[in-house]
Symmetry: D2
Subunit: 338 residues, 4 copies
């Protein structure tokens, strides 16, 4: 499959390299209106570039578009690519505004099965294995899911300002992961923490604890922080009727130190998402290529993108008002057909 | 110090044995109105018994009373013992009704420093060490505290019926532990889970997730379940500005198995509180003896007992109404003076 | 059962306390010729004392003798007690001289089933569980056994001088543990290390690695050191045809620290044998009481004590000469009958 | 740097891919006399091939040769390449015959600094970090080194037959790793195990335990097995005067299961060396490119290759005769100069 990349930033660079080294994919074009950005990514790979993203739609040698542009452009690029008959892999979130996401879904009606949203954590080996073992019934019905997700250090103030807030920017991954493992939620409560004065000044929370319940009474707890001294803290615990499955952090080395005051002291966690989810990004691309290649609706779908945002909106409201918020997940086709 | 025991049930038996083997304590009397109960505990230890608890107050050879009677009798036994000039170690909770606890505090005015509430988890080596290392600033200000507390199996329906509900009966320990590590809380949210039909029929929750915030913005999360396939799941994670401290479960053996499909498979958790907190019960008794012996107010105090119940009440309301509940902890003397 | 204790030193004190608190045992007498030694142990327990060990043999209210005297007196005390019709639990090693052990066995002929040698590690929960799971075939035939045994710090020079050398004094435990798990060995190689100048001056090794093979080709490796910065390092790994079983160290707390440069840093190991094997000493006493009470030959037997010493002799010779030494374990009755 | 690959088997394929994706390297030629072998590796990478390995020497566009031919051809290919002015990265072992290795060293006299031997484990992140931290003195002088190295399953009989025996084929890696961490050894003892009838029929051992001492009294223990139910078991423990450093196995996932009879049950080990040391192979190539590019002698050198074989010969003799064998490591320039 031949792909064009729209947006040559940090995450675009990852996708570009993964496409270039995937045996079944070819990177045909890198498009980015920012001067020099596309070249920086494309030149080492010997790929042509364009400053006009529309070139990705019109190119004859492009089957699918990977959208890594800034969030406000996602909807435009999704609809443009779909209209041009291309399949789409779009970075999360689809948009910060639920209404716009719904407009986007309406606009691409009939082609929903051609869009995949890049929730990379579903493709983490550990998370995927937990999901599979849950589905196989290894621990019985899942009753309590705990997701710990802490970034190593806060992003710059400029990033915070346009991020849509911690729930839409950071927790969005955890909302999707919770849905991946537990399905839809009907109630959301969020307790936001303003422990970082810079982030608080921007009107945002630097940490939060979210609890959400499903219609069948399972509860997911998400513990977020914008900093963690030990690195990128990424763990889940799935507690079920007859056992539990957890994932542990990946560490920077296999070495453990024991001395007079400690034993088994391990290395810190991997530092951040580019390292921690390097394999997941490759698996995600692979899943996209296979789904589109087979004419099957990819997962996570644009509907998954919408529902995660719905939860983020609810959490934002809960953290602000102190209310527990009821949400009404929309019923989407489980696997939208071509 | 010479002690009398009131209430010769399961937990009374533990205290009796610990008193009997403590070098600085002597068990003078076991009192229990239930026919035969006192004898069963006292006989093997060669201790005299009584079917009248008032004998514990009037006995000249008794300095302090350990109250292990059913919860509804705690207040009566506290006030009786204090009026008779005895010091008191009372099992948790002080009472299921906050108003009665406040009456009790009023009734013993001037002798608050003679009462200790038996929140055994403060005396667990791991919890106590986390508290000490937090106090020493090892991980900076504590930002997020997570307490996982799951019983191996639900109690009988008869127990549930008179327990006061999961928050007053089970979570009460976690409320106190959270206060031990983080101080007072100002907001409480609880999501109850009705996953066990028997417990639900009794109007109670079989599991719950509580989130609580302090005035300075720290958040504690408590994850409870009335069952856990692997045993008594008792862990905390204290996440601070510059690091974290966690405790791991105690296991039934040091053996780990590796085979074709697994590596490092350890033994299950210790089964329940009598084993898991055996050392803590001894340390608790020791702390009581030392405090009373030194004329120092013991900790946890009856005020700690009250504040834990305040949080339990708030959690009960939150779980029922769906509201986040503000609480107003009373200011008590940190260490009530003699 | 009524017991007398001969030898009121460090290990005698442990046995005295365990006897005193065992429901089926009674400590009738503590005998030690060293002035004041017996009193120091016996007085707090309200037990009578004697400066003449022979009193332990002649006392009518004594069924069995626990021998904790210095090693050179073990044989005399074993034969004396057996001649007087008492059962015997004797501390390891039986003697430092194999010929004397054989004389002792000859002298007590017909009463071997009345003597147990106190190899406490067989009664460690972890080791005992590994043995049981091996016997149940969980990992198939045992092929490679690795025992790590490191003391926290070297004993004083005076102790080293009369210890019989590292193999007879320290490794003797590991020889017995290896036999407990693998049976008899036919070849022994030992590489001694002279890393401590004081110990080297005494003609002894401060560390050693022993490899031994069984007739069926299994190999046990023992790694010893007279010091370990992290505490008392006590672990085994049993590697079998279809899996492995290992034991991990017991730690001083359940707390783990994570910070900027480390994750999951646990507490040090328990410091030394009195703490590490506290439960094992109790289980050992219990096994002795049950075996003697039931008229069954206790395990480990005096034959086990002999075979461990045989391996220690072989290791001593190997470490000195550089040769691999063949040993001829004597065939003893597996369970000597009354 | 432009490289030719000689030998397009399993390990050659790994090197080919790593060269092709290394930013500073270019794969110019794949040479293998076996019909089709070179093509299978070279075609997907768009690289030219030859059935004549001499083409690797004469090619103008080749700066260095990576030798992955069968062991008996290594010396010929090393000397050929060196004579032609190419640098060399040669797979281990240099040869199975120490005399031939010495002839090879003599033959390339003056160009030793142009040859690196591919002991991949030195480049494993964990091992390299242990070496660095040892060198920094973190645990004081290293006293006892334990290397556990177990393959998941035995190779075919045909491989065993021409392998040179377990010590020259498998333990050779551990000998080099031990030298990497502890320097030269002066005494070697090996206990071979014949637990696999097929391997025994071929005159070889299926498992072994080697102990080796250095001139300063440190001891290394190597525990090898040709099978391991849990996967590729690769661990070391470096025990020093003031602490220890160990590496733990890499697992197939981060997931841990807890249930009624187990807790924290992790996934098996990575299956074998291609996966386990994938990063190490890349780091090894990188080290080679940097050393040769900088005109610095690469490490491990051909002298390291010789000394590892010397230990393998000693171990072979020890396992066969039962003697502890003294070895006389040759003094080589630590870092042979250009």
């Amino acid at each position: 499959m031949r792909l064009a990349l729209i947006g040559a930033g940090r995450i675009g660079r990852i996708h570009a390299r993964n496409i270039a080294t995937h045996p079944d994919a070819e990177l045909a074009l890198v498009a980015d209106p920012v001067a020099g950005a596309a070249d920086a990514v494309a030149a080492p790979l010997g790929v042509r570039t364009s400053a006009d993203v529309a070139d990705a739609y019109t190119a004859d040698d492009v089957d699918a578009v990977v959208i890594c542009s800034p969030t406000p452009f996602h909807v435009e690029h999704i609809t443009g690519a779909i209209a041009a008959g291309k399949a789409v892999l779009v970075e999360k979130p689809v948009d910060l505004d639920l209404a716009r996401v719904d407009e986007c879904i309406a606009a691409i009606a009939g082609a929903e099965h051609r869009v995949m949203v890049a929730f990379n954590r579903r493709f983490d080996t550990g998370n995927a294995l937990v999901q599979r073992r849950l589905a196989e019934g290894e621990i019985g019905p899942l009753e309590q899911l705990t997701i710990v997700s802490r970034d190593p250090a806060p992003p710059p103030a400029s990033y915070i300002a346009q991020s849509g807030g911690i729930f839409r920017d950071m927790t969005i991954h955890d909302f999707d992961l919770a849905r991946f493992l537990l399905g839809d939620f009907v109630e959301v409560h969020a307790m936001g923490q303003r422990l970082d004065s810079g982030i608080a000044a921007a009107g945002d929370f630097s940490a939060a604890v979210v609890t959400m319940s499903t219609a069948t009474g399972a509860v997911a707890t998400i513990i977020n922080s914008r900093h963690c001294a030990t690195g990128y803290d990424q763990r889940i615990e799935a507690f079920g009727e007859s056992g539990s499955l957890e994932t542990v952090n990946q560490l920077t080395s296999t070495v453990r130190y024991s001395g007079p005051s400690t034993s088994g002291a391990a290395s810190p966690y991997l530092d951040f998402f580019l390292e921690r989810y390097a394999d997941a990004y490759r698996a995600e691309l692979d899943a996209f290529l296979r789904a589109i290649g087979d004419g099957v609706a990819p997962s996570p779908s644009i509907f998954d993108g919408r529902e995660a945002l719905l939860l983020a909106d609810a959490a934002t409201r809960s953290a602000t008002t102190g209310e527990r918020v009821r949400v009404a997940p929309r019923t989407h086709p489980k696997e939208p057909n071509p």
